[in-house]
Symmetry: C2
Subunit: 249 residues, 2 copies
DNA sequence: ACCTGAACACCGTTCAAGT
DNA sequence: ACCTGAACACCGTTCAAGT
């Protein structure tokens, strides 16, 4: 809401919303969401805590703005390549890496809902889906599935990285630790987890990530794929979906 | 770590880890993560804030325990039905609804990594995947993709619900509001988002959710699906994945 | 062994007072 | 119009002191 007034001559020094957001991103990258305090921020900006409130409404406004700045930058960097599928992979990986570098973005993005960051991603991915020329009714479910997958995996991956970092482990230490823990679980209760412990130790998140993207893209473009809401026979194949569950206060 | 000592006769009154976790879940359901404070909790349990620390290490321990209790309950309720695919759908919907009812579980579950809640889900979903008799090398990527999708969508759905509730909207109000906001975006910058605004207004999250599950299940069982890490030609088709990106402090 | 509750070191946010 | 910084109402957590 607050715009830069060009009245003041010395633009480099004055406190602006942009400078605050940049400093916030630095603090968030340095020490996560709990590291971002108005006191630390105002110290870094050589001002008082109250001054920030002239430019920013509150902490969640600040988090949302910082998140949006990172997402906007990432979307800007993902240029269109050869095919829609390739572009989707590139955008997905761009987000994966951005959230890996800025893990706090993962949690901040969820609460932005219809707002800027999610809409930016939706538009970018959606334009590629449109290029696939699906029936209109299938576009929403295709984009929705992809978005959920991209953000879901990216966030979990970033959380794993943070978890490891907190415990002073590097990636292979982390994989080793989890894999060992899994193989020591009760064989009666956790047969499957034990059986994939080895695969987990050797897996590569980025490769698995695009494997999943490809899997979804294949499902989207396969001829049998039908959208739930618009198909002729309504939702009868999913009749076990109790519809009353949806009614909540 | 602390076990109930059966020395004291009156078991109903004494403060136990279980009672604390139950009270925490009630507070979390009532007013979210910010509503859970040690003061409110100790008041509800008719004790002092310090007493809780005898049974619980700290707040994140408490959050993890509350999260695990909800997930364990949910997994316990999801019984095996006819086919592996149907069971996966049932487990997925069980989690979807549980996270919808307890939105705080969505954010708490991410940071549990190799620990109980994610492992419980992994085992439940994994046992069904095993029943599909995929090649060993594909099991991890199949389960990983499904898990990421299930949690990703459930969490975003819960966040949307919270967003709506905060603003005093019911589901149709929320859909209407977002849909309207989207259709008012700049047509040059957001052509796709504008074009799906109508579909968004009429979509049903639960139906779209299982549509996505079916889509992934189809991709998994289709013959062309290959695991990234074990395929003969390594990752050459994804050569645009810069491998050095992974090296981080 | 378990509980009490005051105290400590922080938070986000406000607001009279300054320029 | 913008900034200052003390003050307010909270937090999570600790710990001497009790039973």
């Amino acid at each position: 809401m607050v715009k830069k007034t060009p009245g003041r001559p010395r633009q480099g020094e004055s406190l602006t919303r942009e400078r605050i957001i940049e400093a916030a991103i630095e603090l968030l990258d340095l020490s996560g969401e709990e590291g971002l305090t108005f006191r630390a921020l105002s110290e870094r900006l050589a001002t008082g805590p109250g001054a920030i409130y002239w430019h920013i409404a509150n902490k969640s406004d600040l988090m949302a703005a910082a998140c949006d700045a990172v997402v906007a930058r990432t979307m800007h960097e993902s240029v269109i390549v050869t095919t829609p599928e390739q572009t989707i992979r590139a955008v997905a990986l761009g987000l994966f890496d951005a959230i890996d570098e800025h893990p706090w973005v993962g949690s901040a993005i969820t609460s932005s809902v219809g707002l800027s960051p999610l809409v930016r991603i939706l538009e970018h991915v959606g334009q590629q889906i449109r290029a696939l020329r699906l029936p209109d009714a299938q576009q929403w479910s295709a984009v929705g599935t992809l978005m959920a997958y991209i953000l879901g995996v990216s966030k979990q991956n970033a959380a794993n990285g943070q978890f490891a970092r907190t415990r002073g482990l590097d990636r292979s230490d982390f994989l080793e630790a989890v894999s060992t823990a899994w193989s020591e679980l009760d064989p009666k209760e956790y047969p499957f987890v034990r059986s994939v412990a080895g695969q987990f130790r050797e897996h590569d998140d980025r490769i698995d990530f695009i494997t999943g993207i490809d899997l979804i893209l294949k499902g989207i473009s396969s001829p049998g794929h039908r959208s739930g809401s618009r198909s002729k026979r309504a939702a009868t194949p999913h009749s076990f979906v109790s519809p009353d569950k949806r009614a909540s206060g």
